[in-house]
């Protein structure tokens, strides 16, 4: 009992000591004002230590001793004071090499960045990608492949022109290369060097650097191209709300009406544009080191809005060492890339394995009409015109071509499936699509006149 009491008093004395440390300036008389053992221990415990007693103790040139006196050769400073000036970036440095980084001999934030880069960044970034892959795998097990519900017509509708598909694959191909080489660069030291050794990784790292630096331009060009091609079709539309409320019909029968791009695709598009642009800007700043000081300027703006304090970051530092600008760029570049990679994994899944008929849109550019009617019913109406219920009868009266009856038969099937889907509902509630019907007739004829491939119903 006595031992427990002694231990308790002992611990409480430490608590009171720690409390005293956090509220009062520590007594450093025993070290002549230099840091104490407790300062060092507190720093090692990761506590915030007020370093002003060190950063301000860098000597006083005004009270310098004569050059013939003791310490006179150091201009009034002692060696520790000179080292402190170097440590806190206050020394007057003249370097033979040029560039803003040359005059920073000790970079204070470097270790924090290195620890963040080699620890949490890899852990949480890699975890995010693995989580997304697991989630998609689970989704596939539960939902399976999303099939075309209705009977295939054998008719094809041009969904993307060659130029659009070129831009998409320019973006996709460059992004895959950049993602893979970026992961090698970030994670190689931790995972590849232990597995393959330094020399093998050296070759891989040099190759990855070359690919990452030079393929980045293809990504930037493609980003501009897809923005120009698709921005109009990705402007939010009121049908997107219904699509989102119904979750895109992923877990239910039938699909909500959608224009050329549904709300999910619009989210992907804007993610690619916004995050891709951010990755591009931070990437260019990394390609041309020390040329752009983006983060200090951003932090000034963030502080002005009070956002940093609101989010618990406190006042952000508005003066950064040149290296810190690069370190923040690297962290930002990686974090945003991880988020975009996770999103793109889902996009790749749904565009290939996850949905029947989806790949054709970017493969040949021609999609099965039934697929289009199920997933993009409003777009099909725009392209082919709205379906008229008595079109079958009207068309049946004057067959002009040997295979006309076959086409009519196909149209009849489409109309039946459309009746059971939400297309009919949308037509009834959307006066705009009804208004635009006559003008779309031309498009209908043009598209219908295209040679149709034989039916491939299986």
């Amino acid at each position: 009992m006595t031992r427990i009491l002694i231990a308790l008093i002992f611990n409480l004395s430490f608590v009171s000591l720690a409390f005293a440390q956090s509220t009062e300036a520590p007594d450093r008389n025993s070290t002549g004002g230099a840091q104490t053992l407790e300062d060092i221990m507190a720093r090692q415990r990761g506590e915030e230590v007020d370093n002003s007693f060190r950063s301000e103790a860098t000597g006083d040139a005004a009270s310098a001793a004569e050059i013939s006196k003791q310490l006179g050769t150091l201009g009034g400073n002692s060696d520790p004071e000179l080292w402190r000036a170097l440590r806190f970036g206050l020394a007057d440095i003249t370097a033979s090499n040029s560039g803003p980084a040359a005059e920073v001999l000790i970079q204070d934030g470097g270790m924090r960045w290195l620890n963040l880069r080699s620890g949490p960044l890899i852990k949480y970034g890699g975890g995010l990608l693995l989580w997304m892959i697991g989630l998609l795998g689970l989704f596939y097990l539960i939902r399976g492949r999303i099939k075309i519900d209705g009977k295939k017509t054998g008719n094809k509708i041009t969904r993307f022109k060659a130029a659009e598909r070129f831009a998409h694959w320019l973006l996709a191909g460059s992004f895959l290369l950049l993602g893979a080489t970026g992961l090698i660069t970030l994670m190689g030291r931790k995972f590849l060097i232990p597995a393959f050794g330094h020399e093998a990784f050296s070759v891989l790292a040099i190759g990855s650097k070359w690919i990452h630096n030079n393929v980045s331009w293809a990504f930037i060009i493609a980003l501009v191209l897809i923005f120009v091609f698709w921005v109009v079709d990705n402007i939010p539309h009121r049908s997107d709300i219904n699509w989102l409320v119904k979750g895109g019909g992923i877990f239910s029968r039938g699909h909500p009406p959608a224009k050329k791009f549904n709300a999910g695709q619009k989210l992907i598009f804007w993610s690619v544009i916004v995050l891709g642009s951010s990755i591009s800007v931070s990437g260019v700043s990394l390609l041309f080191p020390f040329q752009f000081e983006m983060f200090a300027a951003t932090f000034v703006k963030v502080n002005a809005t009070g956002l940093g304090a609101y989010l618990g970051f406190g006042e952000l530092r508005e003066v950064l060492a040149p290296h810190e600008e690069m370190q923040y760029s690297q962290l930002w570049h990686s974090i945003v890339s991880f988020v975009l990679m996770a999103i793109i994994l889902a996009h790749i899944y749904i565009g290939s394995l996850g949905m029947e008929g989806a790949y054709d849109a970017m493969g040949s550019g021609e999609v099965e009409e039934q697929w289009a009617r199920e997933h993009h019913s409003l777009w099909v109406e725009e392209v082919l015109g709205p379906q008229v219920p008595n079109a079958t009868a009207a068309a049946a009266k004057k067959p002009t071509a040997p295979n006309a009856s076959a086409k009519i038969s196909k149209k009849s099937t489409i109309m039946k499936s459309a009746r059971s889907s939400e297309v009919k509902h949308k037509k009834a509630t959307d006066p705009k699509s009804a208004k635009s019907a006559p003008t779309k007739t031309t498009a209908n004829k043009t598209t219908a006149a295209k040679p149709k491939k034989p039916a491939n119903d299986t």
């Binding site: 090499n97 598909r165 998409h168 320019l170 690919i211 630096n213 980045s216």
Partner: protein, 42 residues
């Protein structure tokens, strides 16, 4: 598929072109960090 292969070829062409251009643009590390008194390898 032609568009896809054309895009992949374009990625290669852009990467080689960018490397040629950037190596001539005076932005290599050695050029950016050396003073005028330093003679660099051609």
């Amino acid at each position: 598929m032609k568009s896809m292969f054309a895009a992949f070829f374009a990625i290669l062409a852009i990467a080689i072109g960018a490397n040629l251009f950037l190596s001539q643009a005076g932005f290599s590390s050695q050029e950016r960090t050396s003073s005028s008194a330093v003679r660099l390898d051609p």
